[in-house]
Amino acid sequence: MICDLADEECILARSTPVAQTISPRTAVQTRAIRKRRTQWSAYIFILPAFVIIGIFHIFPVFYAVYVSLNKGAINRFAFVGLDQYARALSSGDFWNALVTTLVYALLTMPITMALALFFAYLLYQPFVKARGIFRAIFFLPYVVSTVGSAIVWAWIFDPRSGLLNFVLTRLGLPALRWLIEPDGVGLLVAQGLGVNIPTWLDGPSLALVAVSIFTIWQFMGYDIVIFLAGLTTIPNEMYEAARIDGANGFQLFRHITIPLLAPTTFFVIVISVIGSLQSFNSIFAMNQAAEQSLGGPLGSTSTLTVYMFDQLYTYSNYGYAAAIAIILSCIILAFTLFNFKVLGKRSSY
């Protein structure tokens, strides 16, 4: 009996033990059917995950793209093509928000990583006892509610009764307005010194610096845990061999730790870049805790995510907000690809 390749029942009948003599061609066909069946069951197994990811991850992306091509009230959209993108790219507020986002990333990311590496290296030293307790202490800000910790930090930064100004005034320094100060730190320092500086040297607002301090405090613990995990993967023999060769502590760190920690550092960089560009919670919570308008004072803490949120919920500009979200996604994607292209190659040993 010769079966048509599409006739599965025929092929199955041929593959039963009754048919003792199986030609090589039929055996191949049987394996193909079994493989096909196996594949189908695999698809069924991944279907629940696919459905969930499809509904909650993939569909919203396409829906956001759809919304970004429209304008008008929700449920009453009118197609406008790429107008919302053009509007964003020609808006001064959008570019200010983009600059603020990049400045915020530059303020938070390197300092968080440097401090995290420092503390992780310190905790990794054999003389440090109760390492688990320290690790928990450093990790605590990461797991504490952002809103709760923002309220505490708003009190620390409070111009009238805050802890920081209490310390500053006790040291004979002027009290600062912290979260409500729209002036740049460069300008404030220059004013303190009684000198004039060009506008481009004003620097980020003190409010943005204050929010960045909060962010660094919040996320440093996460980076410490990742770095600690990376440090444990470096073989001790490397350090021992280097010590025998006469390497001092700094040389060990520079020539053993840093290079062998590169894959971990690369991971932290990628995660931090994405996280800082997407950062919203800490800025929003600090704005709220300090009784500021969203992105305030005077838009000096308005990053792209904050600007997008404001456009969505305050101004009901759904299409425009979606266009900003898509542009931000493209920026994050570009940074991530750049990181993989440039740093990814250097991170493998």
Partner: protein
């Protein structure tokens, strides 16, 4: 084994899909068979027949005796921004309503603050499952109207069976009936509460400089500031994002308007607005005022005797009273309409309203009946006593005699209702409030002159009003 695995997977998938499906409503809510369901984009049709009488007689006599109610059981989801004692009071009223209309169940659900509530309602509209009625500010309602999600209430209000009577309409304050000029001047929301922007003053401090009355003019206020500001005492604390309600009340008190008569351009950039902003600038230039750095800082500092004047809602009266009592630093304090250049004081009256979403005719009618109940004399009186808001009806005052006696400051404010003015209801007014707030912060930080700051705000506001 394989069959078992496949079965397990199918069950898992079924669970996933079941989880994604919309939750069933607590009770069946079919539309009356004789009434056509409202079209999604058109105004709801007038019901062809009046709904049946309630199955049982009401247990308490409301102001207007219920004459009609849906024949079938109706369950209404009422989304609110009222928490704590206000939530409790609303739930109590909902229970009383159900005693009158046993076949209507209203479930008030706290959804967070007004901003959160707006976000949730917007998301629900997008998902096609809005609540049946919700508390909302008029600007938010205007956005719901744009989405075609809410219904005009004119037909229901005029309905001979379930609408308001002529006496009701005389009794209800006009400012509690929200007409939307942008949308054919129709009524899309009704209010059962309002509050008033007033000036809180520290009478102890004013007495110490020989002022026995709160300042009635801007110059008097500046004089008081000059005499009282020293050490850590300031004259005024402005919220970090500015305060559009205070600005509006000051503009009104200077004889100005916030918006032009046709509602197409703003008017706050005219002379009364410039005078207001200049006054604010002077407060900061003279270091009489500071910007708040945390929520309710002005209230806390007022209770500690660190600020002479604050401007806020009368709804804050119980909170001020509690804070002042707990701090024990201020013995005598009061509220007054702000200083004014107009012959009579002018106060900004504002507050959220309730809007009814486009659902079935039965639900819409039931929602209106509940709203009408909340605006009734007895229910409204209960609400006022629980919240210190102002009632929707003039006649409610009769039921508040004891409350006013026990709360004389509330009684004073009640007397100023006659001087009330409201803020515009345009959809764009929400962002415009932000532009005004930004202008106030700009002036407070000395980043622009009052005129320039207002001009910039007005430019953005006019663009927003034009729908750009």
């Amino acid at each position: 084994m394989k069959k078992f695995l496949v079965l397990a997977l199918v069950l898992a998938l079924a669970l996933v899909f079941a989880a994604c499906a919309p939750a069933p409503t607590p009770a069946p809510t079919p539309a009356p068979p004789t009434a056509a369901p409202a079209q999604p984009t058109a105004a709801p049709a007038q019901p062809t027949t009046a709904p049946a009488q309630p199955t049982t007689a009401p247990t308490a006599a409301p102001t207007t005796v219920p004459t009609a109610a849906p024949a079938q059981a109706v369950a209404l989801q009422f989304w609110t921004a009222q928490s704590g004692p206000q939530d409790t009071a609303l739930k109590k009223l909902a229970a009383q309503f159900q005693q009158q209309y046993p076949n209507i169940t209203v479930t008030p659900t706290f959804q967070g603050n007004y901003s959160d509530l707006y976000k949730k309602v917007t998301a629900a509209i997008a998902a096609g499952s809005p609540p049946d009625l919700a508390i909302a500010y008029q600007n938010d309602v205007a956005n719901y109207i744009k989405s075609g999600a809410v219904i005009p209430l004119d037909d229901l209000m005029n309905d001979p069976k379930i609408g308001f009577t002529a006496d009701d309409m005389k009794d209800i304050f006009p400012s509690f009936i929200d007409k939307y000029p942008e949308f054919g001047n129709k009524v899309y929301s009704l209010a059962f509460m309002r509050s008033m922007q007033v000036m809180y003053y520290n009478a102890d401090m004013l007495n110490s400089i020989g002022m026995t009355q709160p300042p009635a003019t801007w110059n008097d206020l500046l004089k008081a500031c000059a005499a009282l500001v020293k050490g850590d005492v300031v004259c005024y604390e402005m919220p970090g994002g500015g305060d559009a309600s205070t600005f509006a009340s000051w503009v009104f008190s200077n004889g100005g308007n916030m918006i032009s008569a046709d509602g197409k351009t703003v008017a706050f950039d005219q002379q009364p607005g410039i005078d207001t902003m200049t006054f604010l600038g002077n407060l900061f230039t003279n270091k009489y005022a500071i910007v708040q750095a945390k929520a309710y800082q002005d209230q806390t500092d007022f209770s500690l005797g660190k600020v002479v004047f604050t401007f806020g809602s009368t709804a804050g009266l119980p909170y001020y009273a509690t804070a002042i009592k707990q701090a024990g630093k201020v013995q005598n304090w009061g509220i007054a309409p702000g200083p004014h250049t107009t012959p009579n004081p002018v106060v900004d009256i504002y507050g959220p309203s309730v809007t009814v979403f486009k659902t079935t005719t039965a639900k819409q009618q039931a929602a209106f009946l509940f709203l009408k109940f909340l605006m009734s004399k007895d229910a409204n009186a209960q609400w006022v006593q629980a919240t210190s808001y102002f009632p929707a009806r003039a006649s409610t005052k009769d039921a508040l005699t004891d409350f006013i006696k026990a709360n004389p400051l509330y009684g004073n404010a009640y007397g100023w209702l006659q001087y009330g003015r409201g803020e515009p209801t345009q959809a764009a007014w929400n962002p415009i409030r932000n532009f005004i707030g930004d202008a106030m912060v700009t002036v407070a930080n000395g980043k622009a002159t009052p005129t320039d700051a207002l001009k910039q705000a007005a430019q953005k506001a006019n663009a927003a009003l034009a729908g750009q």
